[in-house]
Symmetry: C2
Subunit: 411 residues, 2 copies
């Protein structure tokens, strides 16, 4: 894409009311626009990043047998009464609205009730089980305060998968598979080294649930990490009993602030009991289906990446989720830049060409702020020196390489 065609512009300052580093940088670089606290528009650059994260999630969910679908945001009160979660005193972050005739509706903050109810239409026999529907869909949560930028939205995308199994054994098998799939997602998004499988409160149907917590000061959680075993304990269940149960010792655990980028949860039959989501078992008797739920917030991943991979000059995207792979900057060499731009695109390289009529200093500053992994400068000086100037966003030094070397490097 030519940068001159991008309507967004970099900004010196983020809005004064924006306190989160991730949103400050993303706003300044033209990735997101703040509609209100907790609600961000994804501008073309930001949408490219978010789509890449969503695509990685999609691939990993499909690989373990997930089937994508899409449920509605508008929710019928009747669907939420059986579990008592319609009540604002029980769930304090509903957005509610109503039809013209006064019928109350809610905007889904999650979809356990909806999918448990929906499955009563389709599930009859144990022969159909297990299955794993998921969606990547908008959720709405009426947060009293929303100060974490795109890491905690009032409106945000969520990948939520639900598992339906005939018994605990079948459930546990899939639950373990999702652990690996989640690990793959966070590795591919570049935050694997900072992300820990974290033991958290399990609710009424299992001892623990598991969170994927990424170490960052921007996180809202506190966890205790054991580096050797690559696991952690959430502060909420950090007791002598749990530490012992996991075969750990207090001395081996390091306290850290972290952001929950994913979670997996055994639901047992809590929702299927409430909605009578049953199947006929091998003995011909009705039984409640065993459920699990598995969430990842793509924008929270994106915000966490920005918190982790940025410096005083801007963002430094990991390759796999960068909006473009190469940032081509031309300085008084439009013709040569155009040819290189065409050649890179021909080779399938995603390239943003800064073709604007702007000062070199502005172009360099914008490039650092936007944070594309590979920066190429082409100018009469680099051409005379034998090619282009190449610099990685994460490295301080630039050097001259030939166009052939460049193509090998980035293709």
């Amino acid at each position: 894409m030519k940068q001159s065609q991008l309507f967004t512009k970099t900004q010196q300052e983020a809005p004064k009311d924006e306190v989160a580093k991730n949103a400050q940088l993303l706003i300044r670089a033209g990735y997101v626009y703040k509609e209100m606290a907790g609600a961000y528009t994804f501008l073309p650059l930001g949408w490219r990043v978010l789509q890449k994260i969503k695509e990685i999630i999609r691939e990993e969910m499909n690989a373990i047998g997930g089937h994508e679908m899409h449920m509605t945001a508008l929710q019928d009160k009747a669907t939420w009464v059986p579990t008592n979660r319609w009540d604002d005193a029980v769930v304090d972050n509903w957005f509610k609205t109503e039809l013209k005739n006064g019928t109350e509706l809610g905007l889904a903050f999650t979809h356990e009730e909806d999918i448990a109810h929906l499955m009563t239409q389709y599930l009859t026999s144990y022969k159909q089980l297990p299955f794993y529907p998921y969606q990547i869909q908008l959720k709405f949560r009426n947060e009293a305060r929303a100060k974490s930028g795109i890491m905690r939205g009032r409106e945000f995308f969520m990948k939520d998968m639900y598992s339906f199994s005939k018994n605990e054994e079948e459930h546990n098998y899939f639950y373990e598979k999702t652990k690996q799939a989640y690990t793959n997602v966070f590795n591919r998004c570049g935050i694997g080294d900072y992300t820990y499988l974290t033991f958290a409160s399990g609710g009424s149907f299992s001892k623990y649930s598991h969170e994927f917590q990424t170490i960052t000061d921007a996180g809202e959680d506190v966890i205790y990490i054991n580096k050797e075993k690559d696991i952690a304990i959430n502060e909420e269940v950090y007791t002598d009993e749990v530490i012992q149960d996991l075969g750990l010792s207090k001395e081996s655990l390091i306290k850290a602030k972290a952001a929950e980028v994913g979670n997996i949860f055994s639901l047992g039959t809590k929702f299927s009991d409430a909605h009578e989501t049953t199947f006929t078992n091998e003995e011909g008797k009705p039984e409640s289906v065993v459920m699990g739920s598995y969430g990842i917030g793509p924008a929270r991943v994106m915000g966490t990446v920005v918190e982790l991979f940025s410096d005083e000059n801007g963002i430094a995207w990991p390759e796999a989720i960068a909006p473009f792979s190469v940032h081509l900057i031309s300085i008084n060499a439009d013709e040569q830049a155009e040819a290189l731009y065409a050649k890179l695109q021909e080779d399938g390289v995603e390239v943003l060409w800064d073709d604007r009529d702007a000062r070199p200093g502005q172009k360099f500053a914008d490039s650092d702020l936007i944070g594309i992994p590979h920066r190429i400068v082409i100018s009469p000086k680099t051409i005379e020196a034998g090619g282009v100037e190449y610099k990685k966003r994460t490295e301080p030094d630039a050097n001259i390489i030939s166009v052939e070397e460049l193509l090998t490097l980035v293709s």
Copy 2:
């Protein structure tokens, strides 16, 4: 995909309150689930179709220079006051909700105001123009009645593109390009032959707007078609003056019911005046930017396709948007079917394999209902006859062909 892994099942009957043929068939075949009137969940089969339609739209919008982004559903009252569209007496289909602190919010039914306001952050100079952001995003409309199935939702996806141009000439050039892009979309989705560029009311800034109307009894509009010129007039502007203006005669026009699958609209400076969305022109003076808006409803396209391409046995999808290309039905030949299933997938053919332990009659009936374009039956009988039985969903006769012939046919 193996059909045994699909949690959905076909149903003999649609819900009694479902009056629209498109939704009746889509519910019965397991494409959608009705959450409430006007709100449908897209099940895995339905989501595949909708994603294909969205991808066709995306490709055509990108081809004319569109840049994808994503705005929020939650809307600030302040954004809608300048055009007076916050008022429920002016816009009668808002869903409204509120923050914990009582701040009123709306759920976007369209995004003209939002994007006009957003652009005040980015637009400064004529040098940036033109540009064409678009999104494929959820819209919410509090329809008093919602009886057209997925063709008129209270919650639905909309592709909405907005053009920003420095003057009418630049605007008109893009406006004409979108006409062709829209024609491409509807041709690729299989409804081109039934879809007419239709002259409709233009509002205050242009003589006409243009709708793309597809002939179907399920439509809510009435249009007058001139087949020779391949255009139509919406009933709302069907006057002697307009007929004459378009160089037509009453005798050449045929009345028909139609569904509006897309529209394109010149907005002039209505929204940019209201939001002071200005740029500095070549003379250094501030000027309101000229806007256009361009909508397509992917689910309305999907519903219209079902209305047009279905018979007493079920749906018959056009190839480009079918959930799968081939429906493979095995009857007592699991091993041979598995090999063929693998081979087809290897060749990149999207195939749904009915591997269920079900009666042949049930499998055939389900196949007709689901409506995948190519049906293959493999059984001891077909193997003895030299291959597989092949039938198109749209043709009455089946015949035996070899596996090699099949691969040539569908690859």
